[in-house]
């Protein structure tokens, strides 16, 4: 009973969601929209649990004097933004929008900009010509990198054409092969869960 009910719910939900995809009947459409509404409600409740857990973990760390500055910043951010929104709203010129545009957005841009340096360091490690395949990778990468910048046409008119060919034929063929595998993997994983073969979400199994 402990596992049969969740398995039955999973099977029925899975079959309903699968079947409704192919149907245009109003009942099918309303079932789908109802399930989406229910999903939003579940998400809202888990968000409360998530935020409560976040506050609890941070308060525990502060009391243990572990990573105190980081925890205080995290908690102050969590409290500050809703308070600003409640005090001055979220319209243009409000304190909330000011904090978003002048504090949050630059911080996010800073983290995103780290990617440029990480790409450089990862490329440096990845493009060592230790073997024939690695050498092919290195040469291809250099051709594609040069072919994507305006200077390529000055060096040779063939550069952009070669880059286009590499990206649209060998690279695309490999990507499509991986994507077909991912698609089939997704489908079989979904089937395994719906049919009750995969039961990792169940306790006491």
């Amino acid at each position: 009973m402990k596992t049969k009910i969740p398995l039955a719910v999973c099977l029925i939900s899975g079959v309903i969601m699968f079947v409704q995809y192919f149907l245009s009947h109003p009942v099918a459409i309303s079932i789908y929209s109802s399930i989406l509404d229910w999903w939003q409600i579940i998400f809202a409740f888990t968000l409360f649990i998530g935020v409560a857990g976040f506050i609890k973990i941070n308060l525990q760390s502060i009391s243990r004097k572990k990573d105190r500055p980081y925890r205080l910043i995290a908690l102050s951010g969590l409290i500050l933004m809703p308070v600003l929104a409640l005090i001055g709203g979220t319209e243009f010129g409000s304190p909330f929008l000011w904090a978003f545009e002048n504090m949050l957005a630059p911080l996010q841009a800073t983290v995103f900009s780290l990617l440029a340096f990480f790409v450089a360091s990862a490329s440096y490690r990845g493009f060592h010509a230790r073997s024939i395949p690695a050498a092919i990778l290195l040469v291809t990468a250099v051709i594609v990198l040069i072919g994507r910048v305006p200077i390529a046409e000055m060096i040779s008119e063939s550069f952009p054409k070669i880059t286009f060919w590499v990206q649209n034929y060998p690279s695309m063929a490999a990507r499509r092969a991986i994507l077909i595998g991912i698609g089939l993997g997704s489908m079989t994983t979904a089937l395994r869960v719906i049919l009750g073969i995969e039961r990792t979400y169940l306790s006491g199994e």
Partner: protein, 293 residues
């Protein structure tokens, strides 16, 4: 599903389930618009439906084929062989293990479900070795499911007391807030092993390079072909595409799960035959369109 699972633990579960089912029917009945055209089938989805039915038959055939006692081989996947090594390394070093599903997916995504299946095995092993498992996530629903999966892993290992719910936590729904927080955890906690399994977006290399900088053994896998390239250069092992979905069967050695991997190979052959046929057909008759579905 989780809500219902909680309900089944309650005393009046049957009544509650009846109320929920009644509520669903009532909700649907209210949502149906009167006088709307009662069409039945979306005709543009018929090819998808046919392919789905063929795939389902192949999967069921593969399950029957394995259940009837026939044997087949699954090739070795280095990344999955290294799971035990990664947990062992973290235990030996007296360090922790970090597992994160990435920012790109929610719980409905098959990649996240596949990641949860691997998490189950990893949680079991960490409980067995008494190694700390840290699981930061961007999605509170994933957090709730992961807590359940890890708890179950600890019970399976025979150490329910080693389950630490506070180590499976929600960080932020902001992509770079999540990336910065996980980077901070990696930098401060210095986990000996890092698992990056799920749907990743721009944060993939930010996390993988930070993990690389602290010398952690990294096992990654994603369904994003763009991020795969980053993982390949920055991580020790990368599960490419479908390997991520085959992982739970490979790790648990569950024959029924492995049979679906065999089914995938059969479907691939079907697709390859179809592509070759369509190519020949389109070459002979350029005006043909049936294969475009």
């Amino acid at each position: 599903m989780l809500t219902l699972f909680v309900f089944t633990k309650l005393r009046y579960r049957r009544l509650l389930i009846q109320i929920i089912l009644f509520g669903l029917v009532f909700d649907v009945a209210l949502a149906v618009e009167p006088n709307s055209d009662p069409g039945w089938l979306k005709y543009e989805t018929i090819p998808t439906l046919l392919f789905s039915i063929i795939s389902l038959i192949i999967v069921l055939y593969a399950i029957w084929w394995v259940k009837s006692g026939r044997k087949f081989n699954i090739r070795e996947i280095p990344g999955l062989r290294a799971v035990e090594e990664a947990v062992g390394r973290a235990t030996e070093m007296g360090s922790s293990l970090l597992y994160t599903p990435g920012y790109g997916g929610d719980i409905q995504r098959p990649t996240t479900i596949a990641s949860m299946n691997i998490l189950s095995t990893v949680a079991e092993k960490t409980a067995e070795y008494d190694c700390r498992l840290i699981y930061p996530t961007h999605d509170p629903v994933i957090m709730a499911v992961a807590q359940e999966v890890v708890r179950e892993g600890c019970i399976k290992a025979g150490h329910p007391d080693r389950y630490r719910p506070d180590d499976i936590f929600y960080i932020s729904s902001s992509q770079f807030g999540y990336a910065a927080a996980v980077d901070g955890i990696i930098s401060r906690e210095k986990p000996a092993s890092i698992f990056l399994l799920g749907t990743f977006e721009a944060e993939s290399l930010i996390l993988a390079e930070t993990g690389n900088s602290i010398g952690a053994i990294q096992i990654a896998g994603t369904d994003s072909t763009i991020q795969l390239a980053f993982f390949i250069v920055a991580c020790d092992y990368t599960l490419i595409g479908e390997e991520l979905f085959a992982a739970s069967g490979y790790l648990s050695r569950n024959k029924e799960i492995l049979s679906s991997v065999k089914a995938q190979d059969i479907i691939k052959i079907v697709i390859a035959v179809f592509v070759i046929l369509a190519t020949i057909w389109a070459t002979l008759d350029p005006s043909s369109t049936w294969w475009r579905f």
